[in-house]
């Protein structure tokens, strides 16, 4: 089963680059085998062209290396914090895609201005609080994860599968690493359209709550009727 996960994580990291969400080595994706408590993640600083399923790194949920010669992505502790706190997720994708990162650098959550946003996120895409010097200088990447988890104290990570880390960029997640990549792609599209909508109308109002909820339920929950399968 880890072979399948390796393959999925490999493809996810390649897809992030192919879809223009990750430039150079500025991003990473991981997958979790929750029963074994093992995570497969991209090695640090390796370009997409040099990735192979067998140079991915396998660690446990405390970040101890189990397989692989390479150093894992420096963002591994952020991924691990999410896996520990959000019990239903099986994959994480971190990018610096241009529009989502612009919102993070502008220190603005992405308001829901349209139905595509509502299809995927039951609310705004939230922004973490700025980190303190203490959080920055010790265990920075783990504290980045904790800042995300704190931001979700009153939010449902299954209904809002992404966050903007202030001044940094987006982290996205899903049931699988493949789903996390899909969320990353949708998030960038949503971030772009919301940016352009606000340029056209700085007072653009968030979607009416009925319309937001209607669109979310078309795709999620017992009354979903979008697509070919019951969900």
């Amino acid at each position: 089963m880890l072979d399948a996960l390796r393959q999925a994580v490999f493809e996810a990291n390649v897809e992030l680059v192919r879809r223009g969400l990750v430039f150079a080595s500025f991003g990473n994706a991981s997958g979790l085998a929750r029963e074994q408590g093992l995570v497969v993640i991209k090695p640090s600083g390796v370009l997409s062209a040099d990735l192979r399923p067998d140079n991915l790194v396998v660690t446990d949920l405390d970040g101890r290396s189990v397989e692989g010669e390479c150093r894992p992505s420096s963002d591994l502790p952020t991924h691990l914090a999410l896996y520990r706190a959000f019990p239903s997720i099986g994959g994480v994708a971190h990018t610096h895609s241009t529009f989502a990162t612009s919102w993070a650098q502008a220190s603005r959550a992405i308001p829901c201005l349209g139905t595509t946003h509502a299809d995927y996120f039951r609310g705004a895409v939230p922004l973490t609080d700025a980190m303190t010097p203490d959080e920055i200088w010790s265990d920075y990447e783990r504290n980045t994860g904790e800042a995300i988890v704190r931001r979700f104290a009153d939010l449902d990570p299954d209904a809002i599968p992404a966050v903007l880390v202030a001044g940094h960029g987006p982290f996205c997640w899903g049931a699988s690493v493949c789903e996390a990549v899909h969320v990353a792609e949708v998030l960038e599209e949503i971030a772009r359209i919301a940016y352009q909508a606000l340029m056209l109308n700085p007072q653009a109002a968030p979607l009416a709550s009925d319309l937001h909820e209607k669109h979310f339920r078309r795709k999620h929950g017992p009354d979903a009727y979008y697509g070919q399968n019951k969900r």
Copy 2:
């Protein structure tokens, strides 16, 4: 004849993705065989790569499935409302192309700022009214279509072959599904240029009515002289 329509609708849905107007499964195109009263439409939630002429869905004008195993696009009732109300149209395309959708999310009609707009639309591209909670919670997609039809009470759908649904995105139409896709592509281009023009000059004035009318008539009506055929 339905085989030819299947093929045209298949190609139209693939083109929407290839031309960058539809991302993932966020859009759909349909075609109408008006004499038989049959509509061919994309199945719900199916990606472009998995589309084939034979997994398209055929329904009657009330949305009853006539052929095809798949569930039709959830937007089918919107398409049907347009086919019932606009007697000359034979195809509908719905996208979330980024600039057109930005205008919809900004709740602004697209003013005619240039001759390319005037070549295709005899006026601004209009915006529907916001929907009421009742319209949203029962027969949402049909009511979306009715909101469009109401918006065209005093407009000619043959002279203005597209609309922005507020907070959602554009619907486009034409004599054929192929023409509807072409309108969707032109609309995105127009939406982009109008966006940029307004950024450069927020007070940019709509095209003078003589120039607007002149350009529209270069391509439409008895005095058209653009292209190789009389129209």
Copy 3:
């Protein structure tokens, strides 16, 4: 010699599409054989994929068809007005490239904000005056050309090889049709960078006149030292 011109005009029209300057059939290029007084131009409304050297149209400088079955581009009279008024030019390219057209729709000339602009244009890229109803309703395309020519009453078309027609888009020219296409491509790049610069700094000042003149003379005139050939 007309065969070589046909080939050059064919390639120019294909290049306009390939470089993303012309979308669908929204643009055209022509070339002039000045000694014979003959112009080769794209046929009206024909897509790039359907162009061939032998379906181009040949006319004299009054627009009378000399060779070719097709109707010439509806913009032919604009091209002819330029050929008659600007004695040194041998090619014209007309596009609706997105940034240049945005400036035209915003009714703003493009100020020279940077050295790339100065390399190609000895001043702002000017904007024509709005046309009167009379000019619009009779001989519209010829009057478009006359409006350009009037705008250049005090400007040198060899030193400023492009113009924005208000509410419409750019016309570009050069010693050959190939050069006109190059100007169209440079103009779009300049228009984009000037747009972005103004978004960052609405008070951005035009380049100092010494720097403007220095850059222009690096590439033009007796003291040019850019490139591999004396000019």
Copy 4:
């Protein structure tokens, strides 16, 4: 060894075009063999498609041609000024990439708004002062280099490997020409995201200095832990 440098400089110039950083012949890259005191640079005005390792030009650090039939890039004296003043650099890349150039034309330094910027630049990307008429009319390209060097009187070129020349565009450098091209690519990405962030929030604050420093040190200096190699 000069053969390897020729090859590297050739590839760097081709990469600048392939990655969309240089349009037409608007840019150039060079490499330095510091021990021999020889520079390999692109010939002036030659398009990427016509470049070959053997039509590159070799000069000494005073700009005297040592090998090659072609005239060197007109920007050679700027490159040389950088090589003379910055002892650790081995490559220079000059582009007019659209977002970086927009900042230069807007006469604004690029503030550090995010962690990607901090990963590469230990501070804002600075802007040179405007040049005087004297500097423009005599030894313009050398004076451009001197203006850059003056701007770095109190800055470390190894910690901030790029500059914006006011009204012109970016110059980037690194230990090798390949690294200079990488910086040029990163700079464009950073310039784009900072542009978009400021559009969303004109008051967006620079990254907190602790976070800026933390990210820089993740990749540089004795405590770097990003990537697969100690640095």
